[in-house]
């Protein structure tokens, strides 16, 4: 195809040079002539300005800023309730963290935790399961690199598992509660292996398990379900073993007590902390309606505090503060005299799964679950009953008055009476003897799902509508 023009070019060159016939050295000359004829074209080609390609917005996945932007944007979407969009942002942030810092890097854990949080809000349990498994796998890799980071990761995972267990629409919510408990146990085993079995760093983890047993007992009491220990922390159901409700409660009580005693032995060198562990033991007995044992522990706690040199007035002031049981965190020192607890007492109900349980401390930081609005401010007295009273309660809650109710209707008042009546309070002691607590003011906030169903139901009832509460809930949540 190129022969003809090249030949014609040669012929033209020969004519220019004055030849009439093709010489013998034709091949070499041909090549020289070809180069000479192509040279101007090549030069012109090189002289032309470069052709600009269509410009495209390339994403630099190696930029740290990009990951931070995605997390920031995802968090904003999460707060706004745009969970699906938030998942996409966090997922991309995870991938970028992997590219930037390696497949097993810790930097992806923040975005991953947020992504799991968004998936929980979407009730996408399959995704939650697989991502939690990946989170644990990742954290196990970190164990060998940095133990503190590993503990941070375990705390985050525990928080996520508790959040998943609190979702009333989760069909296997108890499985997540048990998974959280097992995770705490495994963390304890790792602390024992790394720092020793008497390390003080064990204490918050041990107390976490005490709290999980309180939630578990609430579940057992309300539903009569048992045997979570052996059946439901995995996806598959294992048949063949069950515990009666009473036996399950007995085991929960026994484990909680054993762990509190262990914490006490770890903190034995600190007289005040050891005395306050008696207080926790009293609380624990109160929660399981073992009032006689509870009173003994409380009195022993007061004696030990006095022996430790704590001012009796300070002890009385501490017991004069109304406290809902169980406390969200371990108390190892008495608060300073100036730092009085906030008034009124505030209780944020966690979930309808766990009656009379407050939102756990780590979950209070999560914006998506602490936006409870429906509730009331009430005032009441806590009066001790005489020791020979046959009632199982030590304290009687009476003379309840509503200071403020939102929304103000009888349905909400009724619910508040019912739920406040289920709360357990630490008794007040003055000079080592039981005393009444008058005019206790409590701000009670319903759990998030109550905000949706309870409010709707009451409004519908007042309008005379006949809607299914389940359907309402679905519509409201979505």
């Amino acid at each position: 195809m190129f022969a003809a023009p090249i030949d014609s070019r040669y012929s033209r060159a020969y004519r220019v040079l004055g030849f009439t016939a093709v010489p013998a050295y034709q091949p070499i000359l041909r090549k020289l002539l070809l180069v000479a004829s192509l040279l101007p074209w090549s030069v012109s080609l090189l002289a032309e300005p470069p052709v600009e390609l269509e410009s495209e917005a390339w994403v630099n996945n190696f930029a740290q800023q990009r990951s931070e932007q995605l997390i920031s944007e995802g968090s904003r979407l999460l707060q706004q309730g745009a969970y699906q969009a938030a998942v996409q942002q966090f997922s991309e942030a995870v991938q970028i963290a992997k590219i930037n810092n390696g497949l097993q890097s810790r930097s992806q854990m923040l975005a991953l935790a947020l992504q799991i949080e968004a998936e929980i809000a979407l009730d996408n349990w399959e995704a939650v399961d697989s991502q939690l498994a990946y989170f644990e796998w990742l954290n196990a890799r970190i164990y060998g690199q940095n133990f503190d980071h590993y503990l941070d990761g375990a705390a985050t995972q525990s928080r996520l598992l508790l959040a998943a267990s609190a979702d009333a629409r989760n069909p296997v919510s108890a499985r997540y509660l048990i998974a959280a408990k097992n995770l705490n146990w495994r963390t304890i085993s790792s602390i024992e292996a790394t720092l020793g079995s008497d390390s003080e760093r064990l204490t918050p983890w041990l107390y976490n398990i005490v709290l999980v047993h309180f939630y578990q007992s609430a579940l057992t009491r309300s539903r009569g379900l048992t045997s979570y220990n052996y059946k439901t922390d995995r996806a598959e159901i294992v048949a063949g073993w069950s515990l009666s409700r009473n036996e399950s409660l007995r085991i929960s009580h026994s484990i909680g007590k054993e762990l509190l005693l262990r914490i006490q032995s770890i903190l034995a060198d600190d007289a005040e902390a050891a005395a306050l562990l008696n207080l926790h033991l009293g609380d624990w007995e109160m929660l399981f309606a073992r009032n006689s044992a509870a009173l003994d522990y409380y009195i022993e706690a007061i004696d030990k505090l006095r022996s430790a040199g704590v001012d009796p007035n300070r002890i009385d002031a501490f017991f004069s503060q109304p406290t809902i049981l169980p406390t969200g965190a371990l108390i190892t020192s008495l608060p300073e005299p100036g730092s009085v607890a906030s008034t009124p007492l505030r209780f944020e109900a966690w979930s309808s799964n766990y009656l009379a349980a407050a939102v756990p401390s780590p979950l209070r930081q999560t914006p998506s679950i602490s936006d409870a609005e429906t509730g009331a401010r009430v005032r009441f007295n806590l009066t001790p009953l005489s020791s020979n009273n046959s009632s199982r309660l030590i304290l009687a809650l009476n003379n309840m008055q509503f200071v403020d109710v939102n929304p103000n209707n009888e349905r909400i008042r009724e619910l508040i009476r019912e739920e406040v009546g289920m709360l357990q309070f630490r008794p007040r002691f003055v000079n080592g003897t039981l005393a009444s607590l008058d005019n206790v003011e409590l701000e009670y906030l319903f759990s998030p799902e109550w905000n949706l169903t309870g409010l709707r139901e009451s409004n519908n009832a007042s309008r005379g509508e006949d809607n299914s509460s389940a359907a309402d809930w679905e519509n409201t949540r979505r």
Partner: protein, 89 residues
């Protein structure tokens, strides 16, 4: 006479008390507590988990703590179910 009666009673009481302690029990290993069982179960596969509970044996009215593998409990349970089915056929 009273002293002899008192002595006999004391010997009888001691014999009764010593009868409650068998060599088997004195050499018995301490079984894990509920918390220890739970900690162990958290670290092993479901089929390796154990359950401990207090039971009254057929031959004695004294409650004893017994620990078993969950898989053994399941196998025994399914075996008994199968036997019952066979009898009822």
């Amino acid at each position: 006479m009273n002293q002899i009666t008192f002595g006999l009673k004391l010997v009888f009481l001691l014999a009764l008390l010593s009868a409650c302690t068998t060599p088997e029990e004195s050499n018995q290993r301490r079984l894990p507590s509920d918390a220890e069982v739970e900690q162990y179960n958290a670290s092993v596969a479901p089929e390796e988990r154990i359950v401990c509970r207090t039971e009254r044996q057929v031959t004695s009215n004294i409650p004893r703590r017994v620990c078993r593998y969950v898989r053994d409990v399941q196998e025994t349970s399914s075996f008994h179910r199968e036997q019952l089915r066979r009898v009822l056929r």
